[in-house]
């Protein structure tokens, strides 16, 4: 700002100087021109004054000689002629008005003297005539002498006047000459000043020229500097938008133009807010770039708006600067769409890394662990800080051979990849089977930088596969066993070998028959359990009177119990015990529990059946007084083909599936099945089902059961 004032002052002084200079020069030139003109005029006057001398002298002549030559008439004539000449000369003097020399006093005196001379000259001539007349008349010589004396006196007076006239003329001449000298001197001074001015002017011009050249060079430099700056700003990767104090756009660089898809011309004058999505405007207002002259303001998450209304993520920085005393707010605009996108991608990748159930382990090229994710920790038990920098061999279980690892590394180095099952060891020492997928990561030049191992624990999968395999093996074994008996007994009968012993034949026939029945039961049970487990078994949900159903079941199984010498005893008969269920399936459960109890009862054993309830459930209890269940077998009771004592079971024709089928059915009906056992004293199996409420309709009940059992039941 101080610099600005200095500039203004300098310009003012220079202007004033130039003005003074001009006035001076003009005055000088004007003066010289005046002097010149006056000088000419004075010279002319001087000439005219000189020209007065001769007629003046001539004017004196007529009186002088007249007394001698008596030619009065001629003399009068001459006087008239000389007066004429004098008057002409005198008249020319009046024409020089431009002279500054005032000769009017001289003129007056001159005219007075001239008049005196003329008067005296005429008197002399008159006297000369009078003397002549006297002489001719021969008058008194005294008279003639008197006339002559008077004439002489007059002539003397005339001479005196003449002399005055000469003096006047000489005075004029002197005055004029002096004036001429003055003028000449003044002119010389003027001309000298003019020379000075010319020199000063020339010098100034030269100086100006030099200065001008320098200034224009500076201007040129400034101009090219500004162009350079514009070119730089235009090519900056960031958008640059300048805005005035009121927020109105003043300029956009090329990047900003393409960013907002506007030309500068169409946007200049707009408020910058128009280039921001309305939702982002409060952010912009809050950033208040106007007051950011010290440190730039910054908005990292704004949304810009293109000419077609589409949005883009932008980062905005604003600073207030002052240019030529005027504030400008510079906006730096960055299109961060791509950055946001890649940030999101990275974020997603990080989230996946953190949240995936697959363990991820990243090692450097020297197989030092660099990074692991939470799933890795969950699987292996090793926290990141426990494995970072370590070799993955800390996970080895020793279950794989050296050749296995050699083949693995050969595959990785040949193909960049290996996958397969591997048994590793958790931190707690437990071995587990995992599926491991190893890939090498290469940089741009094809150099391996990292290895990434992705793994998931397939121990459970393996376990369930094993369970499935075992189930199939068991089923196969269970089916083959009765078939072996049937086939064996029939083959022996067919061969006729036991024909000699009717006892043995009958035995074989019984074996074939029993085992055929067992095979049928087995197949039924296996199908049942398969159907229940695959949720294909259809349940016909209806209100069922459990009390009645229990009585029916007891009655139906009496004969069977009697075969084993066992008594079925219904302790509490209940007329109405309504539950929502499938009558046939519930009968299947009751039959299973009863026949189970019969099979495990000693001869003459008593099986007690009770139907009781609390606020919510009906409970059916079947209690035998058999050997009980060893505690070690509790967990196995409801498992398929469970056999605490298979010898016993086989003897009585069980399939080992009854309890697991029963549990599946009761579970599906939203109930609970359990047992209590006192070894050597009794075993009590019971199941509970919710009491059917009067307001339940079948469908609502079905939905309730479905909700509690976690699947959709079929109500019809």
């Amino acid at each position: 700002m101080i610099k600005q004032e200095r500039h203004t002052l300098a310009y003012g002084v220079a202007g004033l100087l130039i003005l003074t200079f001009f006035v001076w020069t003009f005055n000088l030139l004007f003066g010289i021109q005046n002097h010149w003109a006056e000088s000419n005029s004075v010279t002319a006057m001087d000439k005219d004054v000189h020209a007065l001398f001769d007629p003046w002298r001539n004017l004196n002549r007529p009186g002088n000689d007249v007394l001698e030559n008596y030619e009065v008439a001629a003399q009068q004539q001459a006087l008239g002629r000389h007066l004429q000449e004098y008057r002409q000369a005198r008249g020319r003097l009046d024409m020089h008005s431009r002279s500054q020399v005032d000769l009017s006093d001289y003129y007056r005196d001159m005219d007075a003297v001239a008049l005196e001379v003329e008067t005296l000259a005429r008197r002399v001539l008159d006297l000369a005539e009078e003397r002549e007349s006297l002489r001719l008349a021969a008058a008194d010589p005294a008279q003639i002498s008197a006339a002559e004396t008077e004439a002489a006196t007059t002539m003397a007076q005339m001479d005196q006047a003449f002399q005055s006239g000469l003096e006047i003329i000489a005075g004029m001449d002197q005055l004029l000459d002096q004036r001429l000298l003055d003028l000449d001197a003044a002119r010389r001074v003027g001309v000298r000043s003019l020379y000075l001015i010319v020199i000063v002017a020339l010098f100034s011009s030269a100086l100006s020229l030099v200065l001008l050249r320098r200034t224009s060079a500076q201007g040129e430099a400034l101009r090219s500097g500004s162009q350079r700056l514009n070119a730089i700003v235009d090519n900056v990767v960031d958008g640059v938008v300048t805005v005035d104090e009121r927020g109105n756009v003043e300029s956009l660089n090329r990047t900003a133009e393409s960013m907002f898809d506007y030309s500068s011309d169409s946007v200049v004058g707009w408020n910058f807010r128009r280039l921001i999505q309305p939702e982002s405007r409060p952010l912009y207002d809050a950033a208040d770039f106007q007051s950011r002259s010290q440190s730039p303001g910054r908005i990292s998450e704004a949304t810009g708006m293109r000419s077609d209304g589409s949005a883009f993520a932008m980062e905005l920085e604003g600073t207030r600067i002052s240019v030529e005393g005027r504030p400008i707010i510079i906006h730096i605009v960055r299109d961060v769409t791509e950055r946001k996108r890649s940030e999101k991608r990275l974020q997603l990748a990080a989230t996946v890394f953190e949240n995936t159930s697959e363990g991820i382990m990243i090692t450097d090229r020297d197989a030092r662990i660099q990074s692991t994710n939470p799933a890795f920790t969950a699987i292996t038990g090793f926290a990141p800080e426990e494995v970072l920098g370590q070799n993955p061999r800390i996970l080895q279980s020793g279950m794989q051979t050296r050749e296995f690892y050699e083949a693995m590394w050969k595959s990785i180095s040949d193909t960049g990849h290996w996958h397969g099952e591997i048994i590793n060891r958790r931190k707690n020492g437990e071995d587990y089977t995992q599926w491991l997928n190893i890939n090498s990561v290469k940089d741009g030049s094809g150099q391996v930088t990292h290895y990434v191992g992705v793994t998931f624990d397939i121990s459970e999968l393996k376990a369930s596969e094993r369970i499935k395999d075992e189930f199939i093996a068991t089923v196969s074994h269970e089916l083959r066993t009765p078939l072996t008996s049937i086939h064996g007994s029939l083959s022996l009968l067919d061969s006729g070998v036991p024909a000699k012993s009717p006892e043995k034949s009958a035995d074989l026939i019984r074996i074939a028959k029993d085992n055929s029945q067992r095979l049928v039961r087995l197949i039924d049970d296996i199908l049942s359990i398969a159907k229940i487990e695959s949720e294909k078994m259809k349940f016909h949900l209806r209100p069922v009177n459990l009390g009645k159903l229990v009585m029916d079941a007891v009655e139906a199984n009496q004969d069977y119990a009697q075969q084993f010498g066992v008594h079925l005893q219904l302790d509490t008969g209940v007329e109405n015990a309504w539950v929502l269920g499938d009558k046939d399936r519930l009968m299947q459960v009751l039959t299973n529990l009863l026949s189970n109890a019969v099979k495990h009862s000693p001869e003459d054993g008593v099986i007690r059946v009770e139907t009781v309830h609390n606020d919510a459930y009906w409970r059916v209890t079947v209690t035998d007084n058999g050997a009980g269940i060893p505690e070690s077998f509790y967990d196995e009771v409801f498992k398929k083909f469970a056999q605490a004592d298979a010898t016993d079971r086989r003897k009585r024709g069980g399939t080992g599936l009854g309890l697991s089928i029963s549990k599946a059915i009761i579970d599906r009906l939203g109930g609970r099945i359990a047992f209590e056992s006192v070894p050597g004293v009794r075993t009590c199996f019971y199941f509970e089902l919710p009491i059917m409420q009067p307001h339940w309709d079948v469908e609502a009940g079905a939905e309730r059961i479905a909700a509690s059992a976690g699947f959709a039941a079929h109500a019809d």
């Binding site: 196969s476 083959r480 072996t484 064996g488 036991p498």
Partner: protein, 137 residues
């Protein structure tokens, strides 16, 4: 060295019906002497008195299974040198190799033909004898 011919077979099987059929088959068709036991403990009770030439064992038995029964019997001098044959319905892939590792000489698969069972046992015995002869040099 034992008798070169096969006479006494110790048979352990938990399923009574199959036990009856196998016994009948071996005794009536093959004319062998069979000690049929329902469990490992039954077998251990009779093995010393019986002195079996050959052990015929079911594999899947409750409480003590075939392999464990074999180990128990082999611990008795009376059965230490007798070849063991498994008679089983459990013949999934891998089972056979497992049985061989346990020192079982051969395996008979259920269901079997009771008329040819004795022949099969006879062949196994011959094979065992010839292997033993080779080993003896």
């Amino acid at each position: 060295m034992r008798n070169d011919s096969l006479h006494k077979i110790l048979y352990v099987e938990d399923d009574a019906d199959i036990r009856k059929i196998v016994s009948m088959s071996l005794e009536m068709v093959g004319d062998y002497t069979v000690a049929a036991c329902g469990s490992c403990s039954d077998a251990l009770e009779v093995v010393d008195d019986f002195g079996p030439d050959l052990l015929l064992l079911d594999v899947m038995m409750p409480e003590v299974d075939g392999p464990a029964t074999l180990r128990a019997l082999r611990s008795r001098e009376s059965a230490a040198g007798a070849p063991a044959v498994f008679i089983t319905a459990k013949v999934q892939a891998g089972d056979m190799a497992h049985y061989k590792r346990l020192g079982v000489f051969d395996v008979i698969v259920k269901p079997f033909d009771p008329m040819s069972l004795s022949d099969r046992i006879g062949q196994i015995w011959q094979q065992f004898r010839s292997d033993a002869h080779d080993d003896a040099g």
